[in-house]
């Protein structure tokens, strides 16, 4: 940005205006003189040749776990400065590489770039279960850090580190999943319920662990990973879904309520269906098929699946027969769910602050959020929502104009509105630039954005766990 305002003088006729010498009388310049002065004035150029737009990352929310990646919030660099517990508005995070994917876990954040350099993933925040890998402490070479305050590289045991690219990262309560394009999925962190996809070892100590497990046995290449609180979901290219981890609420969808330590394919209503997106954050899961149908399984204590069953736990994927149009994207929160239809409308259901005012606390049937809250009007009738994301108690929506709207419980400033109160209907977050992607956590959020004519900003929000 510093070099952008370089003014270049383009040549004009080099004749000074108002040049009358000593002979002429003084007076206001005539119209002809003004016109000549104007034509003789030099023309400045403020644009460079190729002003490309760079992406940037912004973070906001609770900072004491280090999840925001700004060390000066937790340990100020001058003695008189006070530590900043909450960052209420988006704050720019400096990163060395362009970040293509970000995810928030419970108190930690992962940032990934799809470069072919050796360092592809950075992690910051809570590391008590090695969810950020082993971060060697500088003071004592044998120990690792429990809290990482700055985005630090996570070394991955890749076979071809200079060819493989990281496509996506996902974080759960205390485990992380990293998806690569040719070497499968890498998992690290807590495995007490098998959520990392390997056998559960009794009394295993997860902190300061070097163990990163690699998962390759799926029916085809994995194209999306999603983490619930203590379980993991994998979506393959053929459209099937695999799950492993804790299943007491049926969130693994395998027909039982036990833990699963090996990724197993889901059946039920999604057997044979080509799934194009899965989502999970708490203990409920949603999947969207290519024909626009939505399937759900897992916890239903908050009426998330009450449209098909009265039971509070569903352990087999069930089709949710909603008549709201073809569904493009789904997002699962802790107690509320949201889907995005082809027309660009958002439907919410579940429990909590759903976005339709303080009177709507719970509903089993999806209700549409009026598009006028996202800036739609007769004036701008082509505004619609492009992406929907869910955190534990909050929702985030991205419009096609690059604007970010948030609503939900404002836990420790995680909404980024600048206020500490809960937000009962969609509210615009001022991020410099056009927002490209956002990730919601428990109490922090990272977002990526692109600036209007210059660089874009990225998002970053890290959620610390309460």
């Amino acid at each position: 940005m510093a070099g952008a305002l370089r003014a270049i003088r383009t040549a004009g006729p080099a004749r000074p205006f108002h040049c009358r010498g000593l002979g002429g009388a003084a007076g206001p310049p005539s119209t002809r003189q003004l016109r000549e002065a104007e034509e003789a004035a030099p023309v400045f150029q403020y644009t460079g040749k190729a002003a490309r737009r760079k992406d940037r990352v912004f973070v906001w929310g609770f900072s004491y776990s280090g999840a925001l990646g700004v060390p000066s919030f937790v340990k100020p660099d001058a003695g008189w400065k006070k530590p900043r517990r909450i960052q209420p508005t988006p704050y720019r995070l400096e990163t060395e590489e362009k970040i293509s994917s970000a995810a928030c876990g419970y108190g930690f954040t992962l940032l990934a770039s799809n470069t072919t350099d050796i360092t592809k993933v950075w992690g910051t925040g809570l590391n008590k279960d090695s969810q950020l890998g082993f971060q060697r402490s500088r003071r004592d070479q044998t120990k690792g850090y429990e809290y990482v305050l700055e985005p630090s590289p996570i070394p991955l045991p890749l076979e071809k580190p200079q060819q493989t690219r990281v496509l996506q990262v996902s974080c759960g309560r205390a485990h992380s999943l990293i998806l690569t394009d040719s070497e499968g999925v890498f998992t690290m962190g807590n495995n007490s319920y098998g959520q990392c996809g390997r056998k559960v070892i009794e009394d295993e100590i997860y902190s300061e662990s070097y163990l990163i497990h690699q998962l390759k046995e799926f029916d085809s290449r994995v194209v999306q990973v999603a983490c619930g609180q203590d379980h993991s979901l994998f979506r393959t290219k053929k459209g099937s879904v695999y799950a492993c981890g804790w299943g007491a609420d049926g969130q693994t969808g395998l027909g039982h309520y036990n833990i699963t330590s090996v990724p197993t394919k889901l059946r039920g209503d999604i057997a044979g269906v080509n799934i194009i997106q899965v989502s999970s954050y708490g203990d409920c899961c949603l999947a969207v098929s290519d024909e626009g149908d939505v399937f759900g399984w897992g916890n239903s204590e908050y009426l998330q699946l009450a449209s098909v069953t009265e039971t509070t736990q569903v352990n087999v994927p069930r089709h949710l027969p909603f008549k709201i149009g073809k569904i493009k994207e789904a997002a699962c929160g802790g107690t509320g769910n949201a889907v995005l239809t082809e027309e660009g409308n958002i439907f919410v259901w579940g429990y909590g602050i759903l976005g339709k005012g303080p009177n709507l606390i719970e509903t089993a049937v999806p209700e549409m959020i009026p598009p006028s809250l996202f800036g739609w009007s007769d004036f701008n009738s082509d505004i619609c929502v492009a992406h929907i994301r869910c955190g534990l108690g909050q929702f985030a929506a991205l419009t096609n104009r690059g604007e970010l709207f948030v609503w939900g419980k404002n836990l420790r400033g995680c909404l980024g509105t600048g206020r500490m109160e809960d937000q009962y209907f969609p509210w615009r977050v001022t991020v410099p630039g056009e927002v490209v992607d956002v990730a919601c956590g428990v109490d922090h959020m990272p977002g990526s954005s692109a600036p209007p004519c210059r660089e874009s900003c990225g998002n970053g929000a890290v959620q610390p766990r309460c």
Binding site: V43, Q45, G357, S372
Partner: protein, 315 residues
């Protein structure tokens, strides 16, 4: 016979101050009102001395009752019927701007305050020119700098307009002083009726590009609590955001609350007849708007609670 009373709109041409327009309308109306035929003067019976007819008296004066008009009602004694008219002006326009200008006559001036308290949006058509920057942001000012503008495309302009609209929408909600946690706030936000009902800085509620032909462009701006110079400053800032510079060539108000360009009278129609027709046509619109906005406030639960406590205190 009282003069006309009510609200109407005229079209103020550019290059003339708003008070001149108001005075011109007042002069024209006075001229027409005073040219109207006056009431016939009162008649009275006076006993006027007349010389007696020749046969009797012969030179003596006699009082004869005659009907004569009262001299006090003579037009030369009374003077013109109307000397001044109470004409008030609504939202003003500066010298370089043109467009719809609301005026009120007589009792209509009270409605002017009500209309101001409704805080309705105004619509302007703003014309701009890329490549120049002047000291007063318009094309008649002193030239400060010239810049290139070939890199500007309609898409870049629309992106800037979207950013402006987003920040102003947030300001709209923040200055409206409504508690965001209530169901009422949610319903007003859905209908798009949240707006500041008190003093606030200028807020643009909607902005879009009507025409784009380098170096000229034209914008339509819906705004609240603005001044025309603020709109010129917005054009200048759009130029700066696009790494160039811009001046404003034209500011034209096309709607002021409920009065549109169709209701505005051009200069050839600033006469009594057209003004009376205009007042009659606009009366219903104005009344419904004031009823809707201020009547809603009067019937709000807080107001009714006040009324109830007042009744309770009285009894």
């Amino acid at each position: 016979m009282a003069g006309p009373a009510g609200l109407f709109a005229v079209y103020k041409p550019a290059g003339v101050a708003w008070c001149r327009v108001r005075e011109a309308v007042e002069t024209r109306l006075l001229r027409e009102l005073n040219a109207a035929p006056r009431r016939a003067p009162r008649q009275q019976i006076r006993f006027l001395p007349t010389p007696a007819p020749a046969p009797s008296g012969g030179g003596a004066l006699e009082l004869v009752p005659t009907r004569v008009p009262v001299l006090a009602d003579h037009p030369l004694v009374q003077g013109p019927r109307f000397r001044r008219l109470k004409i008030g002006a609504g939202h003003r326009l500066d010298v370089k701007a043109s467009g719809v200008f609301v005026l009120g006559i007589g009792h209509g001036n009270k409605l002017l305050t009500d209309l101001y308290n409704c805080h309705l949006t105004k619509v302007y058509t703003v014309g701009g020119l890329f490549g120049k920057a002047t000291d007063d942001f318009s094309d008649t000012g002193k030239l400060i700098e010239k810049t290139t503008f070939d890199h500007i495309t309609r898409e870049k302009l629309e992106r800037i307009l979207a950013v402006i609209q987003g920040t102003n929408h947030k300001a709209l909600l923040m200055y409206s002083n409504i508690d965001m946690k209530t169901q009422e706030a949610y319903e007003l936000a859905v209908k798009g009726l949240i707006r500041p009902m008190d003093k606030s800085p200028p807020i643009i509620t909607a902005i879009r590009c009507l025409q784009f032909a380098l170096p000229e462009f034209q914008l339509e701006i819906h705004c609240l609590h603005e001044t025309q110079q603020y709109l010129r400053k917005v054009v200048h800032e759009i130029g700066l955001e696009l790494k160039s510079s811009a001046v404003c060539t034209q500011v034209r108000r096309t709607r002021d609350g409920v009065f549109t360009l169709d209701d505005a009278l051009p200069r050839t129609q600033w006469d009594l007849r057209s003004i009376q027709d205009a007042i009659r046509n606009c009366r219903l619109k104005v009344e419904t708007e004031i009823e809707k906005t201020l009547g809603h406030r009067d019937n709000s639960p807080v107001h009714q609670l006040d009324v109830q406590t007042a009744h309770g205190a009285d009894s």
